[in-house]
């Protein structure tokens, strides 16, 4: 069980704001932090890892106090697996070297081999990380984080740099690892489908605060069944077409064009985020 209650002053792109968070996570849970960049997600991960110190509050993990305003447990002693956004693999070590370096003193070398094998890295184990593709580096980073036998795994947008196919495959791998080792995972993500697929709970962060939390289904509003659909989209362009306006939206990776009245169009501008609601009486699913 992880109980977090921390405060920290942050300087964001839109001026100073306070990170003020209170939540708890059960052991073995997979939780995502969702929110705009600059909302404090990475800072929260860094505070949990011990790379940054909150101004005040408390962090407790499985009964140990990691931070209580006065004393703090050093980053080296927290046994946290941290997967950095750009992986931070050591360029001077081979793939195997990276994984073995992460092992605790006296740990079984066979476990390193096991992880390398599990991640499908046997062929690459003598290579240097700079020579690998993004997806391969990501797998090395995951293997390395797991080699340290962490009690808590922190993933900072681990899949953001990958293409769709690789992303799906690696999400599957992360999920497998999490179930196999029973590790508690906290992941930062911008991708709704990823949040939905991986996590049992999502915390929405806005300007340093948790504004909503719950199961991804409930939080992202897909709870109601029936013919009602809602999509989050971003306005790309608004053009006048006769008496109405044509609004071009980006929904996921698809571009959609919808009609808006003059009043509606007036309240919108390109770059705005909107929710697209629609009623369909007979939705059809077509495999692609």
């Amino acid at each position: 069980m992880i109980a977090v209650d921390i405060q920290k002053q942050l300087l964001g792109a839109r001026g100073a704001f306070a990170l003020d968070l209170k939540f708890s996570i059960a052991e073995g849970e997979f939780v995502t932090l969702f929110g705009d960049s600059g909302a404090g997600k990475t800072t929260l991960l860094r505070c949990l890892a011990g790379l940054e110190t909150p101004d005040g509050g408390r962090i407790e993990v499985n009964g140990d106090t990691w931070f209580d305003g006065r004393s703090r447990v050093g980053v080296q002693h927290r046994r946290v697996g941290y997967m950095f956004q750009d992986y931070a693999l050591f360029p001077n070590m081979s793939v195997r070297g990276n994984v073995e370096f992460a092992q605790r003193p006296g740990a079984d070398r066979r476990r390193a081999s096991e992880l390398i094998e599990m991640m499908g890295l046997e062929e690459l184990q003598a290579r240097k990380p700079q020579t690998l593709s993004g997806g391969q580096q990501q797998r090395v980073a995951l293997a390395r984080a797991l080699a340290a036998e962490p009690r808590l795994l922190l993933l900072d947008e681990p899949f953001s740099a990958l293409d769709h196919q690789t992303r799906l495959r690696l999400q599957e791998e992360v999920l497998l690892m999490q179930r196999r080792f029973g590790i508690t995972v906290i992941m930062v993500s911008h991708d709704v489908s990823e949040v939905y697929r991986l996590s049992s709970r999502v915390l929405i962060l806005e300007a340093g605060r948790i504004t909503r939390e719950g199961a991804p289904m409930a939080v992202f509003g897909a709870g109601q069944s029936g013919g009602k659909f809602s999509f989050a989209g971003e306005i790309l362009a608004i053009e006048a077409a006769d008496v109405v306006f044509s609004v071009t939206l980006l929904v996921g990776s698809q571009i959609v064009r919808v009609i808006a009245t003059a009043e509606e169009a007036q309240a919108l501008k390109p770059g705005d985020r909107v929710t697209l609601l629609s009623k369909a009486f007979n939705p059809v699913l077509v495999p692609c």
């Binding site: 011990g50 790379l51 080296q76 697996g81 950095f84 931070a88 050591f90 001077n92 340290a148």
Partner: protein, 225 residues
């Protein structure tokens, strides 16, 4: 060629080798500290480290000579307590060379530490590695080009010393008569043949050393200079 006196040349390379070794031991930790410290004195220290780059060598030599002189309290203490006689001695030359080549070691190495992504050290810390382990296994190996650059530049710069050596070393054969001094001396005595011998050997060896480093580590050095 064999009837020339090789001693000044050997002395030069001995001096350069010892200076470089000491600079590795002292300069690398100092560069690490300078790259990471947040003390207010940092600009002052950085300015002091860089002084030998702008000062005429004779200025540094002059003050070192004063400091080393046994009639001075510092030189007196050194001689009486530690038994060190630094003025007009080889050990004095080593001390002066270390100071004089200090920026050539510290600058590239400090830049190397500063340009190393902080996240690499952070990753090592999250894996439970101490600062010392991180320094040894992550930071040092990843600034190898800068370490090579620092060592080669210190070595080369010490070979090229003249002013400082002249001021505090003088011209004692086998003690302080390094090649650059010997050249000057032979020219003064109109022995152009001997001067040419020293000059040519210095020229050749310096060129070959630098060329070797550039060839072996073409990629490494390209990022440094």
């Amino acid at each position: 060629m064999m009837n020339h006196d090789w001693q000044p040349l050997l002395l030069t390379f001995k001096l350069a080798a010892i200076t470089t070794l000491i600079l590795c031991a002292v300069g690398i930790p100092f560069a690490w500290w300078l790259a990471h410290t947040r003390v207010r004195l940092k600009p002052v220290l950085e300015a002091l480290v860089s002084m030998p780059l702008v000062l005429p060598p004779s200025v540094l030599g002059f003050y070192l000579l004063l400091a080393f002189s046994p009639s001075n309290w510092f030189g007196g203490v050194l001689e009486q307590v530690a038994g060190l006689k630094l003025a007009f001695s080889f050990s004095g030359l080593v001390v002066a060379s270390v100071l004089f080549s200090f920026p050539f070691m510290v600058h590239p190495v400090q830049a190397g530490f500063q340009n190393l992504p902080k996240v690499l050290s952070e990753a090592a810390y999250t894996l439970g590695k101490s600062r010392w382990q991180t320094f040894l296994y992550v930071q040092l190996p990843n600034i190898r080009p800068q370490l090579v650059a620092g060592a080669v530049l210190s070595f080369a710069h010490t070979i090229g010393e003249f002013g400082v050596v002249l001021m505090i070393g003088g011209n004692l054969p086998g003690q302080t008569r390094v090649a650059s001094i010997a050249i000057y001396d032979e020219v003064e005595a109109m022995n152009y043949d001997a001067a040419n011998f020293y000059a040519l050997v210095l020229f050749a060896i310096s060129f070959v050393t630098l060329l070797g480093v550039y060839l072996v580590n073409r990629k490494m050095m390209a990022r440094v200079i």
